[in-house]
């Protein structure tokens, strides 16, 4: 198990009702974090439409998540 802080933004924050939480998760990759928190962030969005960052660096969904990392889950973006 890894201690991971998960931060939710925009739609995901509204669905989770919180902006972040620290969880004990059995995860290897960023994708695992997305899947295991899917109920919390209320997403039926395809993961491919979303983005992820680990410790403030944009990451691939296959990027490894380590104990103590902060994983940022970004719903579909819409700047401009």
């Amino acid at each position: 198990m890894k201690r991971v802080t998960v931060r939710y933004f925009a739609l995901f924050r509204e669905h989770a009702g919180i902006s972040e939480e620290t969880l004990e998760l059995d995860v290897e990759t960023a994708r695992d974090v997305f899947e295991q928190t899917r109920v919390r962030h209320g997403s039926s969005e395809p993961q491919g439409h979303c983005k992820v960052a680990i410790n403030d660096e944009i990451a691939d969904w296959s990027a490894p998540v380590n104990d103590g990392d902060t994983v940022l889950l970004f719903p579909p973006v819409a700047g401009g």
Binding site: E45, A78, G79
Partner: protein, 160 residues
């Protein structure tokens, strides 16, 4: 303080940066900050808050950004544009918070020796910013509903 003539002012050390601000964007100041004696052209894109989207009347827009990643990724975009289309200076500012119809949401300005690089770099920066930066836009409709743009489930959720 003596005003520096527009055409001779030096390039701002703020060139090639992206900023996120909760304050109204002032295009005149931004334009002046890019002035450079070697620039033969200046191209700007301004994104404005529109009163309709996909057939729905919009009352206002709410922007949210995650600044540390938005700034880093935005400056990466500008650096990529510089490699592709050698320009002199580029700046981008994106608003966050609640914006009214007609307000300036995003400003991208590029100076270059010639217009081609200015147009192309400006286009590259705004196109990439829209799809890569962690910035979200919530539409507040005239009928009282609201919805996050580009998120279908949320649009339906808001309509329920």
């Amino acid at each position: 303080m003596t005003a520096i003539p527009y055409c001779f002012s030096r390039r701002s050390p703020a060139a090639d940066v992206l900023e996120i601000t909760a304050q109204p964007i002032d295009p005149a100041t931004l334009r002046e900050s890019l002035a450079d004696p070697g620039a033969g052209g200046f191209c700007v894109f301004e994104g404005w808050v529109r009163d309709r989207n996909e057939g729905r009347a919009v009352r206002r827009l709410e922007y949210e950004a995650y600044e540390p990643v938005a700034i880093a990724e935005g400056e990466r975009v500008i650096a990529e544009a510089r490699l592709r289309f050698p320009f002199i200076g580029a700046r981008c500012v994106h608003r966050v918070g609640m914006l009214e119809i007609g307000e300036l949401a995003v400003w991208v300005g590029v100076t270059a020796a010639h217009r081609d690089e200015a147009f192309k770099a400006c286009r590259y920066v705004i196109d990439e910013i829209k799809v890569r930066l962690p910035i979200w836009k919530k539409e507040h409709y005239v009928d009282g509903d609201s919805g996050w743009v580009n998120c279908e489930r949320c649009a339906r959720h808001g309509a329920e």
